[in-house]
Symmetry: D2
Subunit: 400 residues, 4 copies
């Protein structure tokens, strides 16, 4: 049996590697995905081999992550439950897709992941596996009967198998970093009556710890896709990194929410998405001058479903694809540049410009001389309100 395991180099997936090998008497191919978290890949590779992997793939997925997932999500201003920009949700299908490709190339029998049975990530991994290669067996040790149920058993196993167990006290919460965001959850964060410790953040600083400094930045888009910062064209990965650096230094993009997981419970998540927040703020401002009104209003509704599907792991789902077609259609005209001012957590649009701008001072101004005939409004309001008036005549608001 040959298993491709999504491997991170941490204690859990190292134990899983050794356990899978033993349990299934299988050849284990370790697969490490680089979606922008900063790690020493050589060390991780070495560790995987030492732990028993027959082979290790370290895959740089940053470009795919940004181009195939993050930027399509920005087109949709994708936000789950008002706040969460879906940094982890977007990475998982990209990671799982490459895992499937490796499994197919290697002729593997199974794919495995280290996500637990309580979170959303298991769903994102497994739905992607099943969509792309339904014949592959899926092994999720945390949900297997004979895997460890206590932490101490797991650590015993690790020690017996020569897997190094971190001796330093780990952080009192768990983290998931990538190029788009860092999520923080669990541990001390499970107490929803208390705020996070503001020293926790890594992509930026908490606004409450910043000095006075204001920075201006411009973001340019072509068909809804960010293409330049401050007038300088950059490739997607570089652009997102740069956006993170700029917005991070002003404490932009920190959110702290109680969210609804797909598996049914509420959980608390804190997220840092500095660049994404900047890009979406700019994108919405550009849409505000380029999208036709009803298109924008309907898109707002579609965005909610789109974000939900991403959160629920349904990236490779025909409905997600159809919603993407809708969104991409609207983005044909979303080109232009938005200027913003950043300051201690504030990200304020100060200017918008587009060759396709639908904003027309001549139409909107209350000054004389515009090409809008105010008398048209009489007929408009008459008929716009007709159904409501006819209704009110038959069903009076002021009852006699």
């Amino acid at each position: 049996m040959k298993i491709v395991l999504a491997y991170s180099g941490g204690l859990d997936t190292s134990v899983i590697l050794a356990w899978l090998k033993e349990q299934y008497n299988a050849e284990i191919i370790a697969y490490v995905a680089d979606v922008g978290q900063q790690e020493d890949w050589a060390v991780i590779k070495e560790k995987a081999l030492r732990t028993g992997a027959s082979k290790v793939y370290v895959e740089d997925l940053k470009r795919e992550f940004v181009e195939e997932a993050v930027f399509p999500a920005i087109k949709a201003n994708a936000t789950y439950e008002y706040k969460y920009l879906l940094g982890t949700s977007l990475a998982r299908p990209i990671i799982a897709k490459k895992q499937v490709e490796i499994a197919l190339k290697e002729g593997a029998d199974a794919v495995a992941h280290g996500a637990t049975g309580k979170g959303n990530d298991q769903v994102r991994f497994e739905l992607t596996y099943r969509a792309l290669a339904p014949h592959l067996k899926i092994i999720a040790p945390w949900k297997e009967d004979n895997f460890f149920t206590s932490r101490s058993d797991l650590i015993d196993f690790a020690e017996k198998h020569g897997i190094p167990v971190p001796v330093t006290k780990s952080k009192p919460y768990s983290m998931d970093p990538n190029l788009y965001h860092i999520s923080y959850e669990g541990g001390v964060l499970e107490d929803i009556t208390r705020s996070y410790d503001s020293s926790m953040f890594l992509m930026g600083k908490d606004p409450f710890e910043l000095d006075d400094q204001v920075e201006m930045v411009s973001v340019s888009f072509e068909k809804g896709i960010p293409v330049a910062l401050n007038g300088k064209r950059m490739d997607p990965v570089k652009l997102l990194q740069e956006a993170n650096t700029i917005a991070g230094r002003h404490g932009i993009g920190i959110v702290d929410i109680v969210e609804n997981r797909l598996v049914g419970m509420k959980s608390r998540g804190v997220y840092e998405t500095p660049g994404g927040t900047l890009l979406i703020e700019a994108h919405k401002a550009l849409e505000s001058i380029t999208l036709e009104r009803d298109t924008m209003h309907y898109k707002q509704m579609v965005e909610i479903k789109f974000a939900e599907m991403i959160y629920y792991g349904q990236w490779f789902h025909p409905l997600r694809v159809a919603l993407q077609s809708f969104i991409d259609s609207t983005q044909e005209v979303v080109s232009g540049t938005v200027e913003l001012k950043l300051y201690r957590g504030n990200c304020v649009v100060v200017g918008r410009a587009s060759e396709q701008s639908l904003y027309d001072t001549n139409l909107s101004t209350f000054e004389a001389g515009s090409n809008y005939d105010q008398k048209d409004a009489k007929g408009f309001i008459k008929l716009f309100g007709l159904p409501m008036e006819v209704f009110a005549r038959k069903n009076p608001w002021f009852k006699k």
Copy 2:
């Protein structure tokens, strides 16, 4: 003929008052609505009488405004096009409703307003008139053939009729203040490539002009309605005023957008809604622990339509009423308290508590010993993903 005119005391409605009287040879009843803008009502009353009104009503609508419009909107987190909290949109139907009541009481033939033919307010006034008293004639002088089309003609008329014309240079934009917000639009703000002048704000300060200071505040709700600040119960008007004061001193709730008017063009609006922003932020946090997941997601969609209807002036519309029924139903369980930290434009939730909280650490924790069986997730993901898997089997993502 007897006309009830929505009168503000400013130049325009004063001219309209005199013009209506002359034009229609009518008795004019001036009606002044106090929705929280700060004015010297005695002066305005006096001015109306001097300008020719037979009678003046000054109506304190603050309570009705907050209880019947603002708080129902907060239940819905009502926000137009991602940002605008609808301060003006919510006030108009309340103002127009009282105007109709006066017209009915006085046996008037017509109601009149001073809104132009280019904006949204005309719609909000006129739809309310027609819903509540469709038999009343509506006079909107700006859309009448023989009203003034140039500013200088209007000023000539004012001078001839002894209506004082302000000699000081007016502000380079127009404002509409009430208890919920102040809107700023027109004039220099019509240039969407430039930011506003931060000295403009009256309810609060621009975050960029504030000193370092952090303030904690708690907001308590009962069935979705704010009832207390910092643990102190207040009547609705007092609560909103206090929320404005607190949030205003931290520069909370300033937005600057290009929005889509109902009459078809895009326009730029800058809004200050300090208290409302604080209350909605707190309300969303409370909903995050008390609303069931699918209810919240569907409500997000309903909120978009609800906000659109308010913006479009459709308050007294059967669909708005039905949407309100939906929203009110969801709010039965939205009781509890949220704590927030305010600082230079940042309004950060730091704690949530509710007796009806659905957040259950025992369910969400990744620690051992919870009452959630991770193996349930296997069956769940299997069937949740079944339609997508069956689809993928027939329509493979990786084409051969």
Copy 3:
């Protein structure tokens, strides 16, 4: 241990009764729900006792079924996937609710049902149990490890326990009848390339087997609820029975679909819902003259979600309740009478009348002399089309 079992008197639930008693060494209370299927209740009761029940409840739920489930669904024109009127989906929560009430009254430890793990009914039973009495244990033998997996084992068990096994060849499909409908599925109906056998129907006849005869019928509603047929007021149960008789004799309301089950697969269902089809057809016609336009259009969207939730077993769900509030609000004005002509599967509206009718010939007529000013349409179209025109100017359809 005390278990309340939803018992039908058939082979399967009889075996389950005996098996539960043996397996759990439990006292079994048999609960039989009368939702309008026609059975000899005394015989069933006797059989339950003979099979080992300590007690039998036969509950007449017809009134609750019609008043609490069917009529609220008719208000929503509730239809799943264009066609299915949800006859079984609506009955399950009513049946399960009473079962819970009995369990609470009897101080039982568990509730049990005989639905399999492949269908929708298990979900409808179990979600209702959990919503109403989450502390009760749920036993669904078909999903238990040590229940029978082969038909012959089950029959062996039956014979050993003196449970009569039908000797006559059973129908080549399964049926679920109640006051609202009969569903037919499984067996020969699993071949979706072939039609059903038209001799199968029990509530009516297949249109293809009917003689020429035309019947006129009128249906009257008050606030969306059917109250009279042919001008004769009837209590809800009687009315639905009478509607079934009338519509059934004209072959109204047969549908044959492939539908999507909640548990993930597609299945084929054939349904007879004669009375329901007639009532919904009449209801829609009445809504067409009493509902305001935008209300109706939005309600169409809500109806889809409402039907989905019912199909998915989410009756006792806060979102279903909130949707119901929306729907009930719209129905305040849906009173009046509709006349229909029935003939060989055709159910044609021939007249509508309501005191709250919004239909106004004077407005709609193309004849002269109406109180509608055609010139209003100029301004209306101008502004209605303005966003689209401005868009087209910037983004021309005919590219140069």
Copy 4:
């Protein structure tokens, strides 16, 4: 001045032709669109010239109508307010688009149409004109101040200008026929308490007047587009004609509704859409086996908006285009064949087949030996119902 007039050959547009010429001292180009109504084009052409047209275009738009409007609508099962298949709504943008093309080619200054100010067609014409050529002047004589307001004035004018006035009593309603449907409205049909006269129909017969006869027909689709009837591939126009013939002879596709016009009033319309009804019935059946569940449910919601936009004349609207992208994406898999049985108004699906069918007896069957593990349902229901259960625990249905 040069005006292109949408000309039908009837009295009204003939009078308009002469009136426009006189009123504007203009050159009139008559444009006649053939969308499948059956007329003697040579006679109409001759009449236009005799009435004063400088030139006449008779354009066969049948192919464009079917390919660019009808079939995209069938993909969307486009239906307004439950019933109306949008035959007229779909034709107008196609007709108006060609009119604009002629105007551009001829260098005309204006386009004109004969639709009144009370109906929907004016909107469909004018929105299309403005989307495609916003610089063209639009003349709609019925809304012009100096056009005729009484029928007798119009007839006087006709007689003076040698325009033949039909002497025979016209039909007591108006009709609009094209390849997709015939609409009937106005006149005697304005009485909504009475049915239509069944001798009115032209595309088919009223089911109540048919003999006993049953006909089987199969419809094949590729990516949502009908391509063959009874296994015989046909070009789109031929296919729709043939579908009309087949379905018409069984009285399929007659609807009689009160609908909501865009301009605000309710009106009564009777429609014959035999072929369209057959095709959409078949299309829905094919979708039922090829569309993934959530995709279908979301599409149902999109279909409502799509139909509304078509009815409202918003064909050349960016939102309609984006919705079409969504719909087209879903249709990639909608290929296969559906068999139906037709009989006296009944159109019953009797078989469905598709290589992309997602229907899998092995999954859905209740028989043993399927590849579905019923135990998965336990975990599924557990987590599917978890949010609802947690909610119910905190907010009990049975209050103590």
